[in-house]
Symmetry: C2
Subunit: 291 residues, 2 copies
Amino acid sequence: MTTDSYIIRPNPDDPRLTERVTGVDQTGAHIETAVTVERALTIFLNSQEIVTAMTINDYPEYLAIGYLLNQHMLLPDDEVTGVDYDEELAVVVVRTKRKTNYEKKLKKKVQTSGCAQGTVFGDLMEALEGVELPKATLRTSWLYKLTQEINTTPSLYLEAGAIHGCVLAQEDKPLVYMEDVGRHNAVDKIAGWMFKEKVAAGDKIFYTTGRLTSEMVIKTVRMGIPILISRSGFTAWGVELARKANLTLIGRARGKRFIALAGEDRIVFDQDLAYVEEESSKHRRKAAVDD
Amino acid sequence: MTTDSYIIRPNPDDPRLTERVTGVDQTGAHIETAVTVERALTIFLNSQEIVTAMTINDYPEYLAIGYLLNQHMLLPDDEVTGVDYDEELAVVVVRTKRKTNYEKKLKKKVQTSGCAQGTVFGDLMEALEGVELPKATLRTSWLYKLTQEINTTPSLYLEAGAIHGCVLAQEDKPLVYMEDVGRHNAVDKIAGWMFKEKVAAGDKIFYTTGRLTSEMVIKTVRMGIPILISRSGFTAWGVELARKANLTLIGRARGKRFIALAGEDRIVFDQDLAYVEEESSKHRRKAAVDD
């Protein structure tokens, strides 16, 4: 019923996203299991090659647009005149009305613990300047409904593991659930979808399976989303930047528990915890998943 | 007793590695918790700036050497004439007898789902050519003893979470246990330690909390270690490359369970599973940890 709120959800049955492989288990018995695929996708902005990402490649267009947005190479008011994806060449080209040239930017790369995409960290830091996140509310009743629904939504994670998930939500309704082998790919695919669909960010909630690192916080703020929730932990910079940007930062959200380390004032504690279930072991994310 | 086998182990009590922060929990009560720090460290090779990594920065010298090794910028037979670390500038300079220039390489960056450090993936692929991993044995009794000891070793993960761990082991003995906010930093610190201490790789076992992606497999093979174990899952390329390189690849190693998807012939099933404990919830890694 509530799952009707999904506009995009994982498709674990898509044969292109997992592979069946054989091996042995702890008893030495032969077994067959599903593993997640990763494919190289090279992103061009107009005539310039920007990056090659490793991705499950379910939404190359959204990934390309979102990556370029989060790298400040595509600007919110840019007019995208076309996105051409060539499956055979594993290339996606984003074309803009504005002439672009990021030769310099491509030289100065800073890798972050949020890792993934050689983000130009300095530029991302600047992006925090002057960003005003809107007033917003997070009811704890929404949080528990969201996390419970996300954990039980059929996904590549539940099918094959070794994958990250991000969800764009509104109140207690998940709207877009993206997964990818690279955590930041999942974020970027959602950013690309929001840009293409011209979706407002101020009333949204962002959920990630990944850690709340500086880069994750910066990307969420850049997207204009005031609330970031993770089942994983924090880094000190992530907390510091969230406080600076007045982002509501909630981590270690598992079962009944969560911790808010920034923007606590947006939280309304309306949920009677006596009625919140702990995670079932079936749906607990059982292992470290990176990215 | 067996913990005496550690040459390097995490130091969760090091005040430079965690920060105490205050927030609220699910009941709205004010709490204090520890979060992991991340610091920028810029790595130079001779006069050339190579990369800025986000790291907990406990072993800048090992990280710098290991990073350069794993990027093929430092060669196994290179003579390192000095490693200068300036804490104030957050810069570490690795000096070699050989003249180096990686201008071109620094331009052509490929990001991977193993993410982290903008690895030059093409070059890493080449590195698999002609690599011969030695004959070796993994007794399942060693595997269970190792994972049990690693999970119960005091660590930043158990203290603050949101961090990756890698362990270099021999038979059932963990030798070097490195943690970092960036998964590949932990790998690189071990590679740097092995290079500096001239440690043989052929009789070692590598354990990681992270996923078994193509990049993780390639780095392990590059290091010359024949056995890679993770509590996390696999990607299809990781499995494919491990088979190509004849690496023993074991994933989803938690409690009694594990799955081997490559190099199974090195495994000796000598452990009576009736005597293996499941992970205690205290030591289960509870959440997605990336990066």
